[in-house]
């Protein structure tokens, strides 16, 4: 295996200026992520998960520190359209139907029509919204909207998938199903995934490594290897190894 990391985060700090008051959202975060790795960023609200994701995606400039992706700057990687992002809210365009929303990035990338349709059909099936493809976002529930957002991020078949609490608005059933779908897609494509979540169990089920962030100021307090075998199955959620990992991560939170 090639050991140069795909993403290198070095001493990244982020200080927001909120009406003259400095808020340290991230303090000295360093992390290396391998190509094809599934990484979770886990932590309580306000610990800087979204901030870190936005810095990697070049939607935000860090106050200090550097991020390198495949030896390039995040900006270059963004301009090459290699990021697929699922935002914390669905961010659908209200004037586009479900189908057209998923298609938006494909239209912008001028991918040919037949290929667009194939990909969108497959994604609609995956998120279980074929029947709603001609509905407008305002006619969908929050969870359905979020699923459309996920499909849209997958549509461009990105090199790096950045997901900000994509399943937090979903019910337990849909969430577990989409967890498994996500792992299936990930195994097939072997893309790098950075997955933000509040849920310890979800992070254990999905990830190769879980990065635990602590708040005030946001910092990386532990990185836990998840050595459960793949493919992961429903039954694994019940196994003692699974529980041990959940407990280990819970104990690694500092002063929360």
């Amino acid at each position: 295996m090639n050991n140069t990391p795909e993403i290198t985060i070095k001493n990244v700090s982020m200080v927001y200026n909120d009406k003259g008051r400095d808020v340290t959202a991230l303090s000295n975060v360093s992390l290396e992520i391998q190509k094809g790795e599934f990484i979770s960023l886990l932590g309580p609200s306000g610990c800087g998960k979204t901030t870190l994701l936005r810095i990697i995606a070049d939607l935000l400039q860090p106050t200090s520190g550097t991020v390198e992706v495949c030896g390039k700057s995040p900006r270059e990687v963004r301009l090459e359209k290699k990021y697929g992002i699922v935002f914390q809210s669905p961010v659908l365009y209200d004037w586009r139907t479900v189908r057209k929303n998923i298609c938006l990035p494909l239209e912008l990338m001028k991918i040919d029509k037949a290929e667009q349709n194939n990909r969108v059909d497959a994604l609609l099936e995956m998120i279980g919204l074929e029947k709603f493809q001609n509905h407008y976002p305002n006619q969908l529930s929050g969870g359905m909207q979020q699923r459309v957002g996920i499909a849209r991020a997958l549509a461009i078949q990105p090199e790096i998938l950045l997901m900000d609490e994509p399943f937090s608005a979903l019910d337990e059933f849909t969430r577990e199903k989409l967890n498994e779908d996500l792992l299936r897609i990930w195994r097939k494509t072997n893309k790098t995934v950075i997955f933000v979540t509040h849920s310890i169990a979800e992070s254990v089920f999905l990830s190769d490594r879980v990065c635990v962030l602590s708040p005030h100021p946001g910092r990386l307090s532990a990185v836990v290897d998840i050595d459960l075998p793949r493919p992961r199955t429903k039954e694994m959620r019940e196994s003692p190894e699974f529980f041990n990992l959940v407990t280990k991560i819970r104990n690694s939170f500092e002063g929360v």
Binding site: R54, K81, Y93, R96
Partner: protein, 255 residues
């Protein structure tokens, strides 16, 4: 569905009761008015039909001026909003100037336009243009710039250029605000056109009709003009609302 029905029935019922009280001289008793001071609905309607040719001619003239002025004013307002969005440095100044226009009262504007334009139509269109610019500029600017959180980030993640952001994101998301502006403007355009005719040198249009009839104490004729103005105003508003329904059926307000 039930709610929809009662939404229509209540105002309709209220209107009918209002007309019946009026017809039966209820308001005359209440406000101590003579019949000639406030003609009853049946008399007004008869007067409209007796003078149909003259009234509809005047109406057409006023409506033409109002719509033409509104089209020009809204187009200028929209252009300013787009400029302010694409080139914030100069555009914002334009937006401020146009908003200041909004503060000029029509009664001051009309005599000024009277001196600028030789025809009644020119003057009318001039007044309506100035009156309708601001609402469109301000609303369209808001629509072009108050975007849903992260929707610009989404475009950045696709490395979309300014042009793509404008046509794929800003333009469609400003449509609801544009329709809000059009609905404000159609009402103020009719009022502006009518008021401007009060001050015009020409002797036609709904506004002149109202002024002239009331001056000559032809109350029924005056009220006919008032009635026609109101009805036309409502119809124009409903037309815009119907277009809005079709154009932005995706918007939460159109459920």
């Amino acid at each position: 569905m039930m709610k929809k029905k009662s939404d229509i029935l209540w105002p309709l019922g209220f209107g009918a009761v209002f007309l019946i009280i009026w017809q039966l001289y209820g308001f005359h008793r209440l406000l101590d008015l003579k019949p000639f001071q406030l003609p009853v609905p049946s008399e007004i309607i008869m007067t409209i039909f007796k003078n149909l040719e003259k009234v509809s001619g005047d109406c057409l003239l006023t409506v033409t001026g109002a719509i033409a002025g509104m089209a020009i004013g809204s187009a200028i307002g929209f252009a300013v909003a787009v400029t302010a969005t694409l080139f914030p440095k100069w555009g914002y100044g334009g937006l401020t100037v146009i908003s200041a226009f909004n503060a000029i009262p029509i009664v001051a504007l009309s005599p000024i336009m009277n001196r600028w334009f030789s025809t009644g139509m020119g003057q009318k269109i001039g007044v309506v243009t100035v009156v309708t610019m601001a609402a469109m500029a301000i609303n369209a600017y808001r629509g072009l710039n108050d975007l849903k959180p992260f929707s610009l980030d989404l475009m950045s993640s696709y490395a979309a250029d300014k042009r793509t952001v404008f046509f794929r994101l800003r333009l469609p998301s400003c449509l609801p605000s544009v329709f809000t502006a059009l609905k404000i403007n159609i009402t103020s355009a009719m009022i502006a056109a009518i008021v401007s005719e009060y001050f015009a040198a020409s002797t036609s249009g709904l506004g002149f009709g109202i002024k002239d009839s009331l001056r000559k104490a032809e109350m029924a004729m005056g009220w006919s003009y008032i009635t026609v103005s109101a009805i036309v105003g409502i119809i124009l508003y409903l037309i815009i609302q119907a277009v809005e329904r079709r154009a932005i059926k995706w918007h939460a307000s159109q459920k």
